[in-house]
Structures are given as C-alpha cells and as structure tokens.
Symmetry: C2
Amino acid sequence: MSLDPLVFCRELALEPPSPSDKTADADRLREALEKMGLPGVDIPVDIMKRLPGELRRNNFTLEAVIGRKRFPHLSACQKGTGGDDAEGLGNSGLTVLDIGKRNIFGLAVDVGSTNIECSLIDLETGEKVAAAGAENPQAKFGVDVLTRAQLSMMGKYDDLHLALLEGLNGLIRKVCDSHGKPVDEIFAFTIAGNTIMSHFAMGLDVTNIPMTPYVPAVNGPVFCGAAEIGLSGNRNALVYVFPNSGSYVGGDIISGILYSGLHREEEPALFIDVGTNVEITLGCRDWLMTGAGAAGPALEGGVAAIGKKAEKGTVSRVRIDRLSKKMDMKVISDIEPEGICGSGMIDLISELFSANIIDQRGRLVDSAEGVTEKEGSRVFMLYKSGTRELYLTEAEIQNFLLSKAAMFSFLYVFVKSVGLTFSDIHKVCIAGALGCGIDLESAINIGMLPDMPRDRFVPLGNSSLRGAEMVLRDRKLLCEVNEIAARITYREMNEDGELMNVLQGAMFLPHTEPGILKGGA
Amino acid sequence: MSLDPLVFCRELALEPPSPSDKTADADRLREALEKMGLPGVDIPVDIMKRLPGELRRNNFTLEAVIGRKRFPHLSACQKGTGGDDAEGLGNSGLTVLDIGKRNIFGLAVDVGSTNIECSLIDLETGEKVAAAGAENPQAKFGVDVLTRAQLSMMGKYDDLHLALLEGLNGLIRKVCDSHGKPVDEIFAFTIAGNTIMSHFAMGLDVTNIPMTPYVPAVNGPVFCGAAEIGLSGNRNALVYVFPNSGSYVGGDIISGILYSGLHREEEPALFIDVGTNVEITLGCRDWLMTGAGAAGPALEGGVAAIGKKAEKGTVSRVRIDRLSKKMDMKVISDIEPEGICGSGMIDLISELFSANIIDQRGRLVDSAEGVTEKEGSRVFMLYKSGTRELYLTEAEIQNFLLSKAAMFSFLYVFVKSVGLTFSDIHKVCIAGALGCGIDLESAINIGMLPDMPRDRFVPLGNSSLRGAEMVLRDRKLLCEVNEIAARITYREMNEDGELMNVLQGAMFLPHTEPGILKGGA
C-alpha cells in the first residue's frame, strides 16, 4: 500500500536561535521545511501565534502537521507536476495545519442519497481504524435526490442542508467515539457523493442541476476548509470533494471507478453501481463512457412491504429445496425475521422461480407451496409465526421484475450501443451492496445480470467509500481522479427506442430471448 | 502613478450554458479568468454558494473582485517571477474575494507606538479618498513598546492586543464613515509598524522580542485574512503585513525606505525616522545599513510641562526678532496658545539661542527678555495672559538638549562608522513629523541636524504610511519590499565608545566643535 497521504506529519529539530542567528521563529520553521524538500509552505497566523511557546517548551523540536490547501489543476496533472514534491507546482498550497504532538486521522466519506458511510484512517500507518454508517437524514424529506432538489427550489434548502450537516457531524462523532479519538485529530476529509449530494454537503445551490441544461454550481474538484462548510474536525482540517463529471456522473462514480481500476484496464470492462438508479460505466484505459437509468427502488428491497435494510432481523439469503420445497433462510443475528433486504429479495425471486412457485411471468402458481391468499389476492408467505406474517404480493413481484428488467435492458442496450456484446467484456465490477451483497447465481438466474463466465464478476461493495479512502492515503491519486473525470463521456439513454423493446422481454424470468443474456439478440 | 493593486476587479461576460455546453458555473468562471490571463484562480466555497444565483440574475455577466492570498517568496522575487502575471508563480494564490457590483477600497495602516494612522485608497482609481488617525490605545498601558512587551510577559497580553484591535477597528469605522462607505468595501489592508507593533496587530507573541537573542515570532512578510486577525472589513479581505528585518528594524522602517527610494539611490543617502527613538538607515542601491538609538521623548515635545501634540491651540512656529526681542508665534487655529509641539520646541530653542536669551550651554541669561523666576528657578515665559502661563524651565531645556545631542551624535557616529562624512551624503530624507514638520534652519542652527546644503534635505512626513499606500496600489512592489528587508544589515550602536564623546560636545549649542556639523572632527 502506497502511503503519501493528503495530510502528513514531519518531525523537525530546529537549530535554536543564538546571537549569531536571530532568524524569527516562523522563518526558521519555513527554512527547515525547505531543507526537507518542502519549499514555500504557508504558516497561518493561528499557528504563528502558538509557535514561539511551542518551540521553547520543546527545546526547538517540533512536530508539524502539513496539508495541501490547493488542488493540482488538470493542466498541472497533465504536465506530471501535480503530484510530485520535487517540482514546483507539487507543493503549491502546502500549509502547516497544526504543531505539537498529534495523531493524524483522515475521514473518507461516502454521501449517498440513502445512507452516509465513513471510514476513519490513521494517516501515519494508512490503517482503517474504524467505520460507521447512518441513514442520510435528508431521506425523510424525500427518497430521491431530485425531490430534494425540487424542495430546495421551494425554500426548503436550508432545512435539507442542515439535516445533512447534522447527520455528517453526528457520524463523525460516532466514528471517533468508537475508536476513542477526539474529533480534532481529523485533519483531512475526502467526500464522494453524487452531484446533488456533493453540492448539499458543501452548502452549494442545487436548483439548476435538475433543470435544462442541467448545470451544477461546480464540477470541481473542490478543496476547502472543513470549517468553511461546517464539518467537525480539527479547526484547520482540509476537505477534498471529488469532482463530478457533469450533473449525471457524480463524484461517487468517479471515486468508484478509481477503486475499480476500470480506467487502467486494457480490455473493455464494466463498472455497475446498483441502487435506485443504476449507473454503468463501460470502458478501459483509452475511453470511459457512463450512462444512468432509473431501476426503481425494488432492487434495494424498498418497495415490498416487507422490504428492509440489512440489519438485525433482516433476511439476507433464501434457499428453497427443489424437491421438498422446504425453505431455508439466513437472518441477520439469527433472530426472528422482520423483513428482507435487496440481496435477499433477489435470492427469494430466483428460488421461487427455480422451485416453480412463480412462473416465467412472475405469477404465483396456484396451490404451490407457500402460496396463499390475503385480502382477495395471491401472496407468497415467507414467514408466519403467531401474529407475525411476512409475505410478498404478486404486485410486489411485478414491481421487482420491472426493476430487474430495467437494469438488465439498460446494461444490454448500453453495451450494444458502442458495438460490443457481453462476450467482449472481460470484467464486470459490481458496486453497491444491495443489502448483503448480491448472490451472483441468483442474479443471473433471474436475468438481472448477464450470463457470463462467473470469474469475470468482481463484487466491490461500497466502491465510492473505498475510492475516498484511497485518495486520503495517496495524494498522487488526485491527478488520477482528475483524469478519470476529464475522460468520462456521458451517454444519454432515456429516449432510446431499443431500450423499451428489450425491457418488454426482460420482464420475464429470465428473459423471453435467453440468447440475449449472453449478448446475442 | 502605476496602478496594479493588491486587489482588483474584473468584468466578465460569460457564455451562458447550453445543451452543448454544460460546464458548471465555477468551472465556467475559472475558464473565463484563464482566458483573461489569470489561470488557476481559486474560488472559495462561500463564493461558489452565491455564484449560480448571481450569474443567472445578471444574464451571465459578473464582476469579480480578485486578490492575492499568498505572497511571492523572496526566491520568486529574485527570479523575477513574483510580480508578473504572465509567469507561473505570479498568479499563485489568486482568489476570488467577492462577486457582484462592488466598490473596492484598500486601507493602508501605520501602526505606531503612539499613534495609528490610516489612508483609504480607492483601488480602482488609486486615489486617496480619506484619512484618519487616532492615539494608539495601548499608550495608556505604557508609553514605550518595551514596557508593553514586558507587561505581556506578566499576563497583560490579551488586554494590550484587544486595546489595539479595538483602536484599529474604531479607526476603520471612522475613516469609512468619513467617506460614507461601508466597511465591507475594504478588500485589502497593508500594515506597517515596528516589530512589536506588527506582532500585536496580528496577535502574535511578543515576549521573546525584548529578550536575548531578540527573536520575533515572524519576520515575514505575512499575508493573511482580515478575519483571521480580527480586523473589520469585507469578510474575505486580505491583509499584508510588512516584513521586519529582525527585532530592531520594523516594517515601518522598511515601508519608509520604500517610499523614500533610498534603496534605489546611486550615491549614499540617509533616511532618518525621528521620534522617541531615532532610526537611521544609510545606504544606496548597493547596501543598506540601519541603526537605532534612544533620543528621548523631548524631541517630540513630550517632556516639557507645556509639551503638546499638534492640535488646536498648539504653538507650531516661533520667531524672535534679534533686535527688539519681540516674539511672534504661530498657533494652530489661531486661538490662545495652550502648549507647544516638537517642531515648535526646536524653533523656540533655536530662536532663544540666536537672540542670546539662552547661552551655548542652554542656560537662561539673567535679565534677558522673557526670563523670569518661578518657584526659585529661572524660566522662560513663552506666554502669559490672565491666569495662563506657558513657560520653559532650565531643566526642561537641558532635557531637550540631551535629546538633540543624542540624535546628532548618533547620526554622526553612524555615518563615520562606515568611513563616510556628511559631505558624502547627497540626500537626507527626514521621516516622522515631530508635530508640524521640522524647520530645517532651526534644526541646523541648534546642531540637531548636520550643516549641509539645504537642498539635500527631503521631508517625508509619515513615510511608513506612504509606503503602505504604495504597496496597496502596486503589488509589484511586494518584491521590492522583500529585497529591502533582505538587504538591510543592522548595526549595533549602543556600546559605541565614540558616541559618548561626541554626545558631550553635542550638548552645547550648536556644538563645541562646529566643524563636526559638516562632518569634520
């Protein structure tokens, strides 16, 4: 693991002043840093205030926490000077953030529409020492980000912004408490989120993002002070917000691509971020193309009445014996089941289909095991004990099939639109957890993912958070991030005629044209 | 007058976004600035917050206030890149400070131990639009800066710092009110003061300055935000604090030298700042040497009971007819005289000497016009009417002679120490007002200034403030200031044996060895 973090610490032993060397304290520190290969480091006034006392208390030895306040512009990256200490621009904007003995931590943050997650990284070892997650408090205003942008236009911006900020600061306290560390030991933040969430996190105007011609306030990247945007941390902590590549391709995707390595592949590969929206990036080291489409919240288990996120009491896996039709469920924490998450739902539909409990159209088969009636409609009873009943209606199954169909169709048409078929794709990175991680066989069995050699699939988990962790640990990646953002082209898919055709067939299990699952037509 | 101010305004007409150009607002602004020859300008988050609304209200035209947040390091100056927009480093640290239609003003500040003075400069025209002054509120803690540094060591630092800050902010309000301008139209400050006053102005530790080896917290220069040091102004206003050249040579001297042009002279010249301390810089474009010595407050009119600063009712000029011994006084505002200022005192002593009312030793001549007795001692009655009596005692005259002697001796020994005589000095710049401006003939007549051709003397007034105004108007001078600071050497004079010898003779009027006044021995 390469460790060249955004914020680092230097131990300095300065020559004490003497009658023949009356160099002032701050100038003395600056000269010592220059001798270490760090010329032109800024020393803010609040550090100068503490410097004389700190130096004399410790006999002119000092630990200095140093960070980068300005970002390498793309042009600097292209010249190869942005990440290199030895060259002029590489140190432009280095600043002393603190002095004295400190632990230095960085916090990588994924600001998702539904959940916010973070990892606390020890920047001296590169180790992840703690992690935490929470619901995005904005969710109570509206599940999807466009609703939130619309609410902002109607005067609700401050409420939404404050809710997110409080959520983030709560999460920061939580992750620090969990590791017994004071919040002011966080000196750097890396933040990845979709375009609207990144804007909310910085307190930027979102109202023009959902309106033609869909122009964000900034595509970035943005470097700023944590204090400037209201985040808890060291008073001089720095924040890096991943760049967006326009309104549609957010920093979360760019961070995810960084983690996936898609931009370095020699052969075409896919990066799929599965969620309420499905975001797909196809490409390799020569080109990157992103498209996005709505798949519907059904994939996340969010539509069925028994849908639930992955937590205590959630069904995460389902198996049904083909012969005995006996059902076996994995429940988180092994307690009585209370609901089912996205990945559990994929399993459930796949198993119901394989056990002939639902047909190719997703209709429940009369008198099949577990099929019963509730309020005049057929339902599948997943669990029943005492007064507790967990069941799935036919309408909910249809909803799910629509989502899986949307996802597959989108994937198929997208790959085809650049003249490729699934067989040309040598790697499929799947980001987004969908609860507890997709079971590949189930997903392929229902025709949600293409039927490709299994070893080409790589599950990534929360790749947006992983990419944010990477940049905390290695500032040289800032240039790589800029390059990814600059190379991505966005492909508008919403009005594609073929999409609707493929979608019709994909509503079936696994598809009306099985060949299509391998990339044929 | 060259106008290339620290903060400037640019009018921009941006191409509005369209379906074929979805560049984000901040990136669009950055690109437009780059096209104007201003690449890499930072846009802080608080500006990004207002940018989308501002652009759309004004059909994508914008006025941007831009300033320099980082200073050119000396090395950049030496390479000639520090002041040049066309070269890389020249724009390093440029930042958008505000957007929208604004007037932009800069405030030059001279933070003197006794008085603080400022000039409000319109940065779009370079014009000085208002000026104001006030007593330094720290004076009530102690007249001289060393006392204040000692009080700081005894726990009084915060009181002293706060007093100065309130004084400065009061002055800022006053000068803005006088011109009917809101304080938030000030976008740049240049601050010149001696080393201790500069430190107080920034809130920096002063306790090591008066203790061996006399090390300041910073020699600077310092660039920071006005908000960082508590100054009123625009929330993003920038502050430039002149560098010191060690504990003894403050930013006020360096600023004064900049204004005097001493550092560009081809032949040796003198820059004298007359006050409680006399600070002398001798040199030319090849070398600069500074020394300082205590002259005593008598020169400022501060010791005699009738001493008074230049204000309503102060005697500023005195003439005594050689024959009739009739006295003629100029009184500020032509009212009844209430006291006499420093320059009036120089006149008075000179005239008393020329009219034989005091002898060569400064003793009052018995029965001379105006000489009378008060409480058993001889005094000179300057003014008497009703109950008001303004008189000078012999002890006060002695005190004054000691000060003028100290000043002359110091000047003489300093010039001699580098192997020069007064006749080698082709220009003598005199800074510091001493009330209403020194009358050259009087000062030479009493032997306070050397007897040189009169056209070599150049009165400068408050040169520290003038130098601060220059930098506000022309940022290219930042490099020149760095060069002055780097070139000055300090010459310790306090223990010079010859000084005491010359001082003995200089106590007489004009001197026991008249030849010495022209530089001989």
